[in-house]
Each structure stands twice: as C-alpha cells, then as structure tokens.
Symmetry: C2
Subunit: 702 residues, 2 copies
C-alpha cells in the first residue's frame, strides 16, 4: 500500500486541517479550503556529521527561489547546499484514528487530533466546550540522539501562502509564547518553551527566504529576517539523549466569516485571537494529548480488518476537516462543508452522516434539521410533464449555501430552477432525507418532546410525500411519480451517475428511502398518538413495499427505474433499511407481511446484482451496473446493510473488495485528495476531500 | 505607445484596487495584494445581430472550463459559442487622473476614482471622512444603441478568486441593493437600480460556471446558479437609445486585519459591512462621480508634456492603491504599503512621498513620523570596523512591518542584524529621512508647535547624526563615516544598486541629504530659540558642504563614494537640495558661502554626469554610471531638482528621456505591474506595483 497519502488532521468544528502525507508542497495548514493548502512543511534533522539536513518529503525543492537572489553580492547561503529528502521507502507510517506518525532513523513525528463528542452548547459548561472546540492539533517530534556524541539540530516549520498576510513570530505579539504564524490565521506554538524551562534554551524560531537560508545560515541574526516567507523552529538535541518536542498547530478566524447570514466561529466565544488559542493549547497540551490519543483505541480494539480500519480512520479525518461550528446571533449552527465543493450542510450528506453524528453529537442532527425548517424549507407545486400543476407541499433545500456564503431563504446553492440532470432539484430526495433524519434522531435519542414540537412539520412532510406519489389517491403505489414545478425532472443525490440512480422519478433507490420515511412516520405518529396520520403513513409504506417487491423480474432483481426505461442493476435499493434498523424499530416492523416480503425481495435482489454486474472486474463494488462511477460512502453503507440487516455472508467478497477500495484511496497521484467519494473506473474523480465516508462508522455496530 | 498597461483604480486608504488595462485575466478587484488580483473581468456587448458577444480583452478564454462539463448530458450552453474579444487596435483609451476610459464602437467603459485630500481625523467631521474614505470606485458603462432597431444586452461582471469565500448576489443579503460580490470582501453594486426606477427592469444579475454559461443561457433561471464562480450584470439597452449604467466597485474588510499590533480599517467607523459601502456609494454616486471627475483637471490644465502627464497620473494611481488608513486603539495610522513587497511605511519612501503628502494630506506626514518615534525608533552604538564601539544615538527603523504584520518595536521587517549588502541596516539614511521629513513638514505647514513638542527628538537626532560623522569632534567633516553596530556596513535606500549608491558610508548621495538635515535643523533650532543646537547643526552643514564641493575632481564631478573606493558618476547627489527648497528656506540659506559653493559644485557635477555616463544609450536617465538599474521615482525627483533648483535647461534632454521612461512603463509584458520603480536596462525588474512615483507631483511646482 502507498503510505504517502494526504490525511486531514483537524480540530472539531474549525473548518481547518493540518493536512499531511502526500509528497511535495501538497499538504499544509489550511482553513476554509476545499483542498490541501499546498504549503511547504519542513520536518527534519541534521545528520550526525552535522554537514547536511534531511527532511520528510513534504516540501518542494527550493532551487528556483535561491536563484532569485543569486545576483546579489552578499549571499547569505551556500548555493551548493540544499535540504535533502529522506527516501520514501525508508519511512514508516502508523496511521491511527487520533495519531498519525512518521518514523525514520532517529526521527519520529506525530500529529494528534481529537475524536470527541461535543456536548450540546445549550447544556454544556464553558470549560467543556472550550476544550473540545479548541482550534488546534498537537505535534510530537522526537529525536533519538543517543548514538551521537554531538548535539544535533532538528527543525519544524512551514511556508504559509495566505495571500493577505505575512509570516511572523508569535513572541512578537505575546511574550509568553514562542511560535511561528501567518497573520492572525495559522500558527505553530511550542508547548515546551517557557522562561522557567531548560528546554526553552533549546528551542528557537528562525525566519528566512527559504528553508536553506535558515538551516545554512551563518548567524542567528540572519535567521531573524522578517520578510522571510519560511519560518521554522530550530531544536537543539543534546548529545546522547532522546528528546521529544511538543507543538500545537493553531487556527483562528475572528469576526464575521460568512455572507448572506452573518456568523462567527463558535470558538470565538472562548478564543478571541490565535494567541489565545496558542496559550490554551500550550497550557493544557499534556492532558489533551493524553486524552486525545485514547481515541486510537476506538477502532484499534474492535474486530475490523486492517483495510476497514484504514478507511474508517481516513473517512473520519476528512469529516472533521469539513466541520464548522458557527455562532449566528448567539445560537450555534453545525455545518459540514461538502469537501472540494464546500456546499454547506448538503442534506443528502446529512442523511449519511446521521449514524456517526447520532453516536457522537446527537444535538447537531437536531440543530441542522431545525435550520432546514427555519430557513431552507419551501412549498411547491408538482407536475408529471403534462402541463398541469398540482399541490405538492413541504420540502427542503439541497444545501444551505456554498463556501461561507449562506444561500437566500428557501433556496440552495446547488439547485437551479427549470433544469434537469446535474444541478436540477432534489425535492423528493431531500424531503425523504429530512424525514429519515428527523425520525431516526427521535427514536435513537428517544427525544419525543422534540418530535412533538415538530408535529406540524412531520404532518406536512407526510402530505407532501403522499402528493408526490400521485395527487389522485386511487392512482398511488407509494413511489414518487410527480416532479416539483421548480424543475423539469428531479434528480437524487446520485446526480452524476446515469439514470439508474440519478433520476428521481420511479427510482427504486429513492423508493427504498421513501418506504423508510413512511415506516418511520408511522411509528412516530403512533407514538405521538396521531393515529390517523400513522394510518396514512403505513398505507403508503405497504403500497410502496408491494410495488417494489412485486417488481422483481425473472432474473431475480428489480430494475433501477420502475417506468421500464432503465434495466440497470443497482445496489442502493437496500439503503432504506438502515433507518428503521438504526432507529431500533426494524425488529417490530419486519413482522409486517409487506416488510417481510420487501426484505426477502431485497435480499434476493442484492444476491443477484452483486454477482451480476455490480462488481468491477477486480472485485471493487459498482453501485450501478451501467455506471463506472461508484461512491465509497454508499458502498460502506450498503456493505453494512447487506451484512447486518440482510444477513448476507460477504466475508469472501468484502476482504477483496475492501482491499480494492483501499487501493482507490491510496492511489499514488490521487491520494492527494485525502478521503474522496466518487471513484470512476477505480480513480478518484469527484467529491474529493470529502466528509461523507463516516457511513463506515456503521461497521462498529456489526 | 502600448495602451494595454495595467493601472490602479483605487479608493483612498483602503489598500484596494480595481486594477485594469493589461490583456487577459491580469487585472481584477483586489485587496491587500502586492500584485493585480488576476481575475477575469467581463465588460462587453451583444452584437447588433444578437448572435454573439464581444468584450474588452480583460479575460482569459474559458475553453477548458467548458470542457470540464462536457461529459454531462444536459449542457446549459452550446460548445461552439464563446465570448469574443475586441481587437486591441480598435480600442481607444483615455487615461486621466480620475477617469480611465476605454471606447470601442458603441461601447464605452470608464472607471472613476478619487484624488482628494483627507482631512485630519482629529479635526474632520464624520461626513467628510466618510465620503473621502468610502472604499469604492465608480464605473460608467455606456452603450450607444441608436443605430440598432433591437434592444441589446451589455454585461459587466467578474470571476473572483478569494480562496475562502464564494461569489454571491448582494440582493440576497440586502434587498435594497442589486449587485454581485465575493464573500464580504469585494462587490459591484448597480447605482441605478431601485424599485421605483424604470431602469431597474433593465438590470439583472446572473451567475454561472463561466461567462459563456451566462451569456448563452437558455433561461433566466439557469442564470441563478449560485455555485457559478462567474457573476455578472446583464444590462438591456432598448433599441434606438444611448444608455449609461453606473456601478460602484466596493471593497471591505471587517475586524482585526493586522498582527503584531491589532488594527482595523479606519473606514469601519463608517461602514461596518460591504453592504453599507454599497448603499452609501449607490446613494451618493452622482455627486461623487461629478466631484471626483474634477480631479482630471489637476493635471490636464497644467503645462506638462503628455509623457509627464501620463507618468504623473500613473504614479499617483499606484500610490493610492498602496494606501491604508488603519485604526489602532481609536487612533489613525496612515500606512503606505511598499508595492509588491508590502513593507509598511518604509521610511525612505516616506521621504519621497513627502512632497505629495504635504500637498494633499499634511497630517499623514506627522502621523507617520510620530509612529516612528513611538514604536520604530532605537538607540545604537556605532563602529568603523576596527573593533571598537562608540556611542551612536537615536535612529529609526526602515519600516513598520510587512504584509499586515507590524514588526516588533524598534525593529523593521527589512533590516537584518550583522549584515551587509541587501537587507542590511539603513540607520543613517533613515535618521536623515526622519529629520528631513519632520523639518520639511514643520516649515511647509508652519507647525512649530509640533516641532516644539518634538524638540528632544530633534536634539537626539542631531547628536546621533553628528556621532555618525565621527565620535571625535576634531575628525569630523560632516559625512557619515561610522556604521551602526546593528550591522557590518550600512546601506542606503538604493539597496540593490552597486556601491556607488548602495553603500552608506562616505556616500555622496547620503551626504547630500545629510547636509539638508543639518541645514533644516539649523533653521528649526533658530526658530525654536535653541541657538547652541542651531550652531552645532550649521557647523556640520558647513563642514559637509565643504567636504562635498572640495571633492570635485578634474573631470568636474564628485565621485560617488568619498573614500576613493568608487569613481562612479551618480545623479542623486543633488537630492538633498529638495528639502530646503520645499521647506521654503533655500533662498535664505543659499546666501551662505558654503551653500553657494555646494550648489555651484552640484550644478557642475550634474552637467558633467548627465552628459558622461548617466544616460542610457537611448536617452533614458541612468542614476549611476556603473549600474544598469535606474529608479523612476528618483529620476522624477532629480529632474525637478535639476530644472527648478539648479536651473539647468533640460528641455531637449527631458522630452526624449520622458518618452523613454514612458516606454519603460508601457512595456508590452511588464506593464502588467502598473507603475513600477526599478528599471534594469530598460525593463521593469523590481519595486513593481509601487507607490513611490508621486515624486512627479513636484513637477506641478515648476
């Protein structure tokens, strides 16, 4: 396996990442980006003979930069001296949930990031929130100098690339700190140095036009060149000892960061400047590092294959790097940014993040769903293309905006009016997603008080969903047949696949989730004593289940689109099952004949399609037999459903498939994008740097 | 002359520019940059047959972007349709002080920017400051559709490239506005549109993945695609009429923008959001456009050659684009950023901006000089290389920081300890600059109260300057002979030239300004009744004048360095004369025999060097006979001194030289950099996008 893939190392809710792992200037300390920051990161060590310096391969050689200055008389460096890179094959990497470590010879470098629950700000104490929202990750750099009779110098630094502000030293603005920073946005602070500590004499900061200017500098004074765009710690390790240096990599944005709807980062309540972040991180670093490292065991101690463990860790990191806890008029809003696209709280992703979030931070599910009600819901009319319009009802927008710009009320960034295909509306899909998320939240957390408050919304959702089947009651079969008048033809979350998954109308993937929505609403309305609504819901569930299972064809599968226009085999028709399962109600509802028949049909369907068209030649999963585009987040989800709910023995299939999926993610070129979702013919192609893979957390339920 | 050069179009003190003029995606709406924003700017018109669209050539063809989406089924555009560019040779440009206009066929596009005085915030009214500090420039787009029998569409838009925030519509956050924006930083607002106006129906905003998606869109709905990175106004011009549309291009940064010392933009006192900027600009646009346009006559009505007028306008624009009025703990700080380098208030530039600033905003001179006293002054020891140290005294840092990061107290961003050559200290140069600026301010504004308050500073400056001649009184000859112990060898502002101008010690350029410092302090101390100090100063002035004029050699010039190490001929030895002249005291002091002799010697020197080594072959000015590197700001200054103070008839020389200097600035490739200073062998090479050329304002005194 290629070990030189990028990974996020992120605080929680800061939309920030110290991304590292891919060779070259391809990682970096980034905020609010849909990609790695592409900065030079310098982590290295002087050789034992003290003649040269070697670093982990996370930088671009600076040859050209030196040449820029070659025409001046007084060169502060020797042209022949360059920072060398360790051989990649000699570097060991241990990639864990909280700790990511590179080891080579006498050097070890770890980044430690949090995997923790955020308490609901409505109930949590200030100190709890302050700790979990600290916008920083920690670094441990260890040098084993026991075999050397001389002191040696290690180094750790970066060349920032924010277009607006220069690199600087933290001590220039706060004498309690020693650190390097860019503007007010990113910083690395030494956690060890303080005026009382002996170690502090071993830690100095340096600045130069390049890392070579710093490392081969003729004097400490020359290393204080403020204009230098590279800044680094120089760390003296005495002869004969092993020494660990600790740092916090800090992030900060103050003031209003969003448009359309003004908000700040929630952490500004506790940290008004990056210096405040650095001070807190420094003060609490040992306790936090110890605590955070414990999250390694979240997956290490569980029966997962190495491939599964890798993907789960990798996906979780990309999720955290996309999270943003905002403060809007003194109320929190949880935002998951959509990877490279940076759409905010895409609702079809929310439905996949649900299982992870209900485990870690249930309140964020409620928080996001409420924002969808308040600002990103709408009522529409519907049509079936014959020129007539009918009452539709309530639905929800695809997202809340893009790249720190909130969309206007009742609109998403993604959806275009009057469209079909890519950038069309996902009205029915998002209605179903909202119902599934809200119901699953209610059952899982047993928060029926909240559901009671949303009763009118649930009722409106039911009516809307029923209308989209057919305005004429007698013509209903449970499955969506009418499109929103906002658009010509609705699409599903699978927007860039072919019609087998991309078309909403009569699609069996969407039908499966629609069935889940009805089943969940049925149980919910019963619970809330709304028997007539419960009755309407279960009637639709039965109709729909019947439509689905009776559509199974002679080859034993259900064609992707029920209008006969498409005969593709697709895996995601099983997706709907996960919501009642996770809600804890499946064991009850599966006693119901229509459910039993549906599950039987889906089991049969799955067994047929997985062996006839839904695998790539090498064994990787193919969500649709007619598309080369397969999505890992959904593969993870369907793997879980097939194994755990349909009780299909996938042991032989999964071991091979997972190894292929890992190979997709660790591609030598495309693993620049950390965890990514859309894989076309084995190559990461879209939905890069993406949060959605936390569906893999369902594996921990198996 | 190549008319496709970039020019700044900037508000005052917002460190912002709508840079435009160079072909391609090479201009743009930028803030806090040391270069153009490199954005696509779309300004164009539908053809009369309504089949195609043509624009001014300020964009990069978007072919690749369209290809990105070619694999989707539903293309919102026709692949064969591209935005065309007008032929460059058909475009006329009228480049004025406040108004920059491009005309082609039926289209005319003007940007109007302010050239105004800022009242001292200590005295000015809120409404005065609000108006002059408005972070916006105006645009007039006129379409002559009198020859068409159909309505036609014009367009104006941009593709922003801020890494952190998306493009958006202003109306989504403020229903009183119609506009396009990127995040909270930049925006274009329509000044015409309001709900009462008929014109508003002709003005719509559109958004798409490319300008072609917008222009060739099949429906208005498709043009509301929020994810689109290109946003534009679509402007309907009725058949048979000429219509002018007006816009404001707005800038804004809220919150803390600097590090090291926290500050906000001063305009935040009046405009807390970009919507507030847009609203004010819209409300007052007609009055402001009319008022600002009057500044065109500042140079149009004066006896300057076209070449002089061009350079004066060009330099003034680059100056304004570099200006930044900050608010630090409720006190203003004027910052001029150093072009591409972005150093803040480089003191050797302040000494060249002085004449312009004393005309426009005298208080900013005082403001900057006080900050140098408070935070960026230091006391040093001095040496002459023999290992001994002597008392030096007060001096000032080279600058106050770089790229929005304030340097720590008593330090500049530029100066490195223990250095020589580039990035060494400019201790004596900056001491002399502070004295010349502070004295000239005092005399020009007759603000002797202020000088009285700074008396101890002036006294410390005098002592420090005398010490740098020689700690031993009997060995003094007026000229600097000792270097600061902060460095090995001091340099001058001419850091990247050879020793003829770059070396500080015994340099006749610095000697000339040192003489000015003594002469000015003499008069100032007399005025303040400090006769003993005045006496010390004039003694040094006489010594120095004597040293200089007696160094004239057989060929009739003074060799650049008085230690015999360098025989170069340099022009800038005449620079010192400008300060007593501009202070209005030269007519008195030139009665003094030593001054008279000095002026005679410098006149002789100038006449020799200008004809023997200080011209390029083509007639451009060469500041030093031994360097190919010549600086336009300093050429402008010396031209003025030679003509006005030395009374040398340069008519035949200047006409040719100015045309060469204009050719340097309008180079087909390098004019990307707007006004730039360092020209090596006729090519813009460094100090690009630079503020320093406002020395040309001295020409208005001739």
């Amino acid at each position: 396996m290629n070990n030189f893939f990028n990974a996020h190392h992120s605080p929680i809710g800061a939309f920030a990442s110290f991304t590292l792992g891919f060779p070259g200037a391809k990682g970096g300390i980034g905020q609010e980006l849909g990609k790695p920051a592409n900065q030079n990161i310098y982590i290295g060590l002087q050789d034992i003979a003290k003649n040269e310096f070697t670093a982990l391969p996370f930088f671009q050689p600076t040859q050209n930069k030196l040449a820029d200055f070659a025409n001046f008389d007084d060169k502060p460096y020797d042209d022949s001296k360059y920072l060398k890179s360790y051989n990649k094959q000699d570097i060991e990497r241990q990639y864990q949930m909280a700790t990511d470590t590179w080891r080579i010879d006498e050097l070890s470098f770890s980044i430690i990031s949090p995997v923790e629950s955020i308490e609901d700000p409505a109930q949590a104490s200030e100190s709890e929130l302050k700790e979990v929202l600290l916008p920083a990750v920690f670094v441990e750099l260890t040098v084993d100098n026991t075999n050397s009779q001389h002191q040696r110098m290690a180094f750790f630094g970066y060349e920032g690339n924010d277009p607006y502000s220069a690199m600087r030293f933290l001590q220039d603005s706060n004498s309690e700190l020693i650190g390097i920073a860019q503007g007010n946005g990113t910083a690395i602070v030494s956690c060890d140095s303080n005026h009382q500590s002996e170690l502090s004499t071993q830690i100095v900061t340096a600045s130069g036009l390049s890392i070579e200017h710093i490392l081969f500098s003729t004097s400490p004074e020359a290393n204080q060149f403020s204009i230098g765009t590279t800044k680094a710690f120089l760390l003296t390790v005495p002869a004969g000892v092993t020494q660990t240096f600790r740092f916090a990599v800090c992030f900060h944005r103050s003031g209003v960061v969003t448009s359309g709807l003004a908000s700040q980062y929630f952490y500004n309540r506790y940290f008004t400047t990056i210096e405040a972040v650095a001070s807190y991180a420094k003060q609490h670093h040992l306790a936090l590092i110890n605590k955070w490292k414990k999250s390694d065991s979240l997956v290490d101690n569980i029966q997962l294959s190495d491939d599964q463990r890798f993907m789960l860790i990798h996906a979780t990191r990309s999720y955290y790097g996309s999270t943003q806890l905002l403060d809007i008029q003194h109320k929190p809003l949880w935002v998951v940014n959509e990877g490279e696209y940076r759409m905010m709280n895409t609702l079809d992703l929310t439905a996949d993040h649900l299982f992870f979030e209900l485990k870690m931070n249930p309140w964020v599910v409620k928080n996001v769903l409420e924002m969808f009600i308040e600002r990103y819901s709408y009522e529409d009319e519907i049509h079936n293309g014959d020129g007539n319009k009918y009452t539709g009802g309530l639905s929800f927008c695809h997202d809340m905006g893009v790249a720190n710009v909130f969309a206007k009320p009742q609109h998403s960034a993604y959806e275009v009016y009057g469209n079909k295909g890519l950038f069309s509306h996902m009205t029915c899909e998002q209605l179903v997603n909202w119902i599934c998320c809200a119901s699953t939240y209610t059952f899982k957390i047993q928060d029926f008080d909240w559901a009671e408050k949303q009763l009118n919304i649930f009722e409106a959702c039911l009516n809307s969903l029923v209308n989209r089947d057919n305005p004429l009651a007698s013509a209903r079969d449970g499955v969506m047949s009418f499109n929103s008048c906002r658009t010509i033809e609705e699409i599903t979350t699978y927007d860039s696949l072919d019609a087998s998954l991309g078309q909403a109308c009569r699609n069996i993937y969407l039908a499966s989730k629609t069935w889940a929505a009805y089943i969940l609403m049925h149980r919910l309305f019963l619970q809330l004593g709304k028997y007539s609504l419960a009755d309407s819901a279960i009637k639709q569930a039965d109709l729909l289940a019947n439509t689905l299972y009776s559509s199974i064809n002679e080859q034993g599968f259900i064609a992707a689109v029920l209008d006969g226009s498409n005969q593709s085999k697709i895996i995601p028709v099983i997706e709907g099952l996960v919501f009642p399962y996770f809600s804890g109600i499946l064991h009850e509802v599966e006693q119901r004949p229509s459910t039993k028949a549906l599950i039987n049909a889906l089991t049969k369907h799955f067994n047929v399609v997985i062996n006839n068209g839904c695998l790539f030649e090498n064994g990787g999963w193919k969500l649709s037999s007619t598309s080369e585009n397969s999505w890992l987040s959904k593969i993870y989800l369907s793997q879980f459903i097939a194994r755990k709910i349909l009780k299909i023995d996938l042991a032989s299939n999964t071991a091979l498939a997972d190894s292929i999926h890992v190979a997709w993610l660790t591609d030598e070129e495309l693993s620049y994008w950390a965890w990514s979702d859309q894989i076309v013919a084995g190559k990461i192609s879209a939905s890069k740097y993406y949060p959605r893979g936390v569906t893999a957390w369902l594996w921990l339920e198996e």
